[in-house]
């Protein structure tokens, strides 16, 4: 709810990075507090609910795994919207947002992969199978890493913004294609013996902790994202101030 209204404000009102910084200062504490609260409740719920009769204790992995997987996709969506913002509306913060989101998204995707693997080992007896869903998440992970590498390779933010925005959008369009192709590729080779990650039909026993954890992770994402955006704005200020320092040094030396 609050992140929703923030999102709207972010796009309408906050063209000015300085205003964004002021707002970030105000909301960050509350976001962090809400995150901690939800995590406390979520963790308590997820350790006190009953285990599943089929999957035993391992069902508890779901409470971390599913939110992480959800965030890995949501984060990419945020980046894609930001990329649109860069390319279409030329919003000054859109590029900052996309850049700040990439490492966070990569971390959550990594988390989804690792917890999925830890879930898969006792369930399927293998750490990794080239199942359609796993594979497309893995491709997503590689795309995140590629974007981070691209952002790091270009030191001039003004130039790199549009280039990486194009790449983000291409990736966004490509993800459904990857998913389809992988699913098709996979069913061709392997019968549907593989257990699906989406698990058993969820009954309320598992639904509550899952939902609370999902909200907690989402809040965590927004907290981190806002903080990372703030860092990115600061980083750019440092860069521009340094260039200014260089120009000043030139003038002083000429005065000598």
């Amino acid at each position: 709810m609050s992140e929703n209204s923030l999102a709207i404000r972010k796009f309408s009102d906050l063209a000015n990075p300085t205003r964004f910084l002021a707002l970030a200062d105000r909301v960050l504490f509350w976001f962090a507090a809400a995150t901690v609260l939800f995590f406390a409740v979520g963790l308590w719920l997820s350790f006190t609910t009953e285990g599943d009769y089929q999957q035993g204790e391992t069902v508890r992995i779901m409470y971390v795994h599913v939110p992480a997987a959800w965030l890995s996709m949501m984060c990419y969506t945020v980046m894609a919207i930001s990329a649109l913002g860069t390319l279409v509306w030329r919003h000054p913060l859109a590029d900052v947002s996309a850049k700040a989101a990439a490492p966070i998204g990569a971390c959550f995707t990594f988390l989804a992969l690792v917890t999925g693997s830890l879930w898969g080992k006792p369930m399927w007896g293998a750490w990794w199978v080239w199942d359609a869903r796993l594979t497309s998440v893995f491709v997503l992970f590689l795309m995140y890493l590629g974007l981070i590498a691209l952002n790091r390779a270009m030191d001039d933010p003004a130039r790199s913004a549009r280039v990486s925005a194009v790449l983000v959008l291409v990736g966004f369009v490509n993800i459904p294609i990857i998913k389809f192709s992988v699913e098709w590729w996979n069913t061709l080779h392997q019968p549907a013996s593989v257990l699906r990650l989406d698990g058993p039909t969820i009954d309320p026993e598992f639904l509550w902790p899952l939902l609370v954890m999902a909200v907690a992770f989402t809040l965590l994402f927004f907290t981190l994202h806002i903080a990372a955006m703030r860092n990115e704005i600061w980083r750019r200020r440092v860069t521009s101030l340094r260039r200014q320092a260089v120009r000043n040094a030139g003038r002083e030396a000429q005065g000598l």
């Binding site: 490492p103 971390c107 990372a228 200014q244």
Partner: protein, 58 residues
């Protein structure tokens, strides 16, 4: 079931470690940037717009 509990613990541990790493990275990055800004400010370099739009940024 013991080994299953180990998997559960491992996944929560990985999650905690990843999230903690992310949080510390964001905080540390913020600290470093703020310190650099302070250093630059101490060196007498100031944003042209900062004087006008006030100390809202910090």
């Amino acid at each position: 079931m013991m080994s299953h509990a180990a998997y559960v613990l491992a996944s929560y541990a990985v999650a905690a470690a990843t999230v903690a790493g992310l949080v510390f990275w964001v905080i540390g990055d913020g600290r470093a940037r703020r310190r650099e800004l302070k250093e630059l400010e101490a060196a007498g370099i100031r944003r042209r717009s900062a004087d006008a739009s006030g100390g809202a940024g910090r």
